[in-house]
């Protein structure tokens, strides 16, 4: 039983961390009024870059920093497109996802002659505790994600930076009239948002897997987006949402495995039904919990001065 629970907790944290970083980044991004559905793309680029630059420089730290810088650059590009060039933000995100996936594979092919995976790098140690005499793992990045989640909540709700961001996302015209430089805030928010998303990618490569395969991210960017909407653009709720989804995903994995042993039979296609669990549970929970949607009002609308 205790094994079952520790496995559940570990798996919950694994799932939750990535989608939490994605959601936290997207929240910063979108609070300013800029949609970013390129979370998946940022994950991909960041996870890949972490490995690529760690190998190039020989230092994991340098690799991670490079990955975050590149994530920030993607944010800069997206922000410039969105703010100054009034580009359609969704479309730019769709493009980004396509380019990111394709380009990393092309780069792997060019660099290592391999279409799917990079070489391994030495990854960082996760935190390890003993529970009932057995090691219990908590990823360092999980803790980082939770800290950032709480800090982000504090900044958004309690500081003037939060007000500025919210003003740009809700009523850019008013923000501008108050002396806020909407364009600059939006670009900055996309950069910071992208860097936070990038942390998700760094986590995947630097702490979880130690390499990048083209199946490393596997659509988690979209789950992160769902988590963002789930949270109603509230970082504290995003923490809860990530844990909730992670928990149900972990459960959907453990339950059929345990059941097989219990029932003494083999699951074949019916195992697919278990996989619907996290998704249906999320819909159910949000239906019960949600009272009012509060997305930034000017979300996705280019701010046009004249």
């Amino acid at each position: 039983m205790i094994d079952f629970i520790t496995a559940l907790v570990e798996n919950t944290l694994f799932s939750a961390t990535v989608i939490l970083f994605g959601a936290l980044g997207a929240i910063v991004n979108e609070k300013s009024g800029v949609v970013n559905i390129g979370v998946e793309g940022v994950f991909i680029v960041s996870a890949f870059s972490t490995v690529y630059f760690t190998l190039a420089t020989g230092s994991l730290l340098a690799g991670a920093v490079a990955a975050l810088l590149i994530s920030g650059l993607i944010g800069l590009l997206h922000g410039l497109l969105a703010a100054y060039l009034r580009s359609d933000q969704v479309i730019a995100g769709v493009g980004l996802n396509m380019v990111a996936y394709g380009l990393t594979i092309v780069l792997m092919a060019i660099t290592w002659g391999d279409y799917s995976q990079t070489p391994q790098i030495g990854k960082i140690q996760s935190l390890q505790f003993n529970i009932a005499g057995k090691p219990f793992i908590i990823p360092v990045f999980s803790i980082l994600a939770f800290i950032i989640g709480v800090a982000e909540w504090f900044i958004l709700e309690k500081t003037r930076y939060g007000l500025i961001l919210k003003a740009c996302g809700d009523e850019p015209r008013a923000a501008e009239a108050m002396g806020v430089n909407v364009f600059r805030v939006r670009v900055l928010a996309t950069v910071i948002g992208s860097i936070l998303m990038g942390l998700g990618g760094v986590y995947l490569s630097a702490e979880w897997f130690g390499n990048y395969t083209r199946a490393t991210t596997a659509g988690r960017g979209f789950i992160a987006l769902a988590n963002e909407a789930f949270s109603n653009w509230n970082p504290a709720m995003a923490v809860a949402g990530a844990l909730l989804f992670g928990f149900f995903e972990a459960l959907s994995i453990s339950v059929p495995i345990e059941l097989q042993s219990l029932l003494g039979r083999q699951f074949t296609a019916e195992t697919y039904l278990f996989k619907m669990m996290p998704y249906l549970a999320t819909i159910l929970v949000i239906t019960l919990v949600m009272k009012k949607i509060q997305m930034p009002r000017a979300l996705g609308k280019p701010y046009i001065k004249e």
Binding site: D3, F4, T6, A7, E10, N11, F14, S15, V18, L55, I105, M108, W112, G113, D114, Y115, S116, Q117, T118, P119, Q120, S126, Q128, K134, P135, I137, L204, W208, F209, G210, T213, R214, A215, T216, A218, G219, R220, E249, A250, I253, S254, P256, I257, E258, Q260, S261, G264, R265, Q266, F267, T268, A269, T271, Y272, K275
Partner: protein
């Protein structure tokens, strides 16, 4: 295989041209697409044929792709990798009787003179893996094995049947009880899932995991490695298709082999050497089409990995072979090895043959009968 009388017409000086059409996803799946590429590259090297590759964007595009390539008449042989090509081929093959096709890892179950289907007896590989996995689990002391599988598709049904059979065979021979876990992750492309399924299986007591999920099971490998490194216990992984021991030789004593490369090579060879004969071929244990990779194979793939700088820092291919050899000695007992060889003998000699479930119901029936200890439920010929 039947050998046709060699045609006397000498081939024109025009070099043979082959198109390899991968499965969706193409190269980089660490599985049959990559293996197909290896086989074709070897053929290119050995016979000087021209080879062109392409990857369809989705199953929905296969029919048209095949149609267009067939109508061009440009290729002496079109090699189709993976079962998704079955129906596109069915709709095309009769229209172009002069176009030769090789369908790898699937069959239309229709005999056409211009079509070669090459199948594998995955059950046979699975069975040998099952015996050794059970033996390793018993040696480590957890007495439970597992498999992280991709999606519920016929080749995996066959692996399931074989793997479970092998484990039960081992139980029968040793009177030990070995637990067995099998779960479909629902994907061939999600390493996070692979890791998490593996973690769950390890937590629930398994210590030997068989990877049958392409890129997904790379995540399983990582989970097994972490399990050992984090001091949670001893765990081992088993790879499949290519020799994957190089990925972590200490924790992966062996991999199952499925020689898609051989299939592709053979198909090309038939064209080059004018030995074409249409029909269904099954690559089995007997002709080395499936089985367990020997150390030469391990070295071959370790060399490839080495050239792609993917080997663990400081290791050479020879080190990989040495370490793999050591782990085999450490984790596989004499008994286990001999039970495996005995089973191998039964299969090669044709004393027993496995069923190939053709429907999900049949598959379900077989694995659940096996689970309950009825080994013969898996056999179409012979008894154990």
């Amino acid at each position: 295989s039947t050998s046709q009388p060699a045609k006397t017409t000498t081939t024109t000086s025009k070099p043979v041209k082959v198109a390899i059409l991968f499965d969706v996803g193409g190269r980089g799946d660490l599985s049959f697409n990559d293996m197909a590429w290896l086989g074709a590259e070897k053929a290119k090297h050995d016979f000087g044929v021209t080879v062109e590759y392409t990857t369809p964007q989705s199953q929905g595009k296969m029919k048209e792709l095949l149609e267009t390539l067939s109508s061009s008449g440009e290729y002496d042989l079109i090699v189709l990798v993976g079962f998704l090509w079955t129906s596109p081929l069915n709709e095309t093959a009769d229209k172009y009787p002069n176009q030769k096709y090789a369908l790898i890892d699937a069959s239309t179950f229709i005999n056409r003179p211009n079509e070669v289907d090459i199948l594998f007896s995955e059950q046979e590989a699975g069975a040998l893996v099952g015996v050794l996995a059970a033996d390793m689990a018993s040696k480590i002391g957890c007495n439970k094995v597992g498999a992280v599988a991709g999606m519920s598709i016929p080749p995996l049904w066959r692996f399931h049947v074989g793997y479970l059979f092998g484990v039960k065979y081992y139980e029968m021979k040793t009177n030990k009880t070995i637990g067995f876990l099998w779960d479909y992750t629902g994907t061939f492309g999600d390493t996070q899932k692979g890791y998490q399924y593996a973690t769950s299986m390890l937590q629930s007591g398994a210590c030997v995991l068989y990877g049958l999920a392409g890129l997904t099971h790379v995540g399983m490998f990582d989970a097994v490695r972490d399990w050992n490194k984090q001091g949670k216990g001893t765990a081992l992984a088993i790879g499949q298709d290519a020799s994957q021991e190089w990925y972590m030789p200490r924790y992966m004593p062996f991999s199952g082999a499925k020689r898609v490369d051989v299939a592709v090579y053979k198909a090309i060879e038939m064209v080059v050497k004018n030995q074409w004969s249409g029909g269904i071929h099954v690559l089995s244990l007997k002709d080395g089409g499936v089985g367990i990779w020997d150390l030469d194979g391990v070295k071959y793939f370790a060399e490839i990995a080495y050239n792609q700088s993917k080997l663990e820092a400081g290791l050479t291919p020879d080190d990989v072979v040495r370490i793999v050899n050591e782990s085999r000695r450490t984790y596989i007992t004499e008994t286990g090895w001999s039970i495996m060889q005995e089973l191998q003998q039964l299969i090669i000699s044709g004393q027993i043959a496995f069923k190939s479930p053709s429907t999900e119901d049949e598959y379900n029936q077989i694995v659940n009968a096996l689970k309950n200890g009825d080994l013969n439920a898996a056999l179409s010929k012979g008894k154990v």
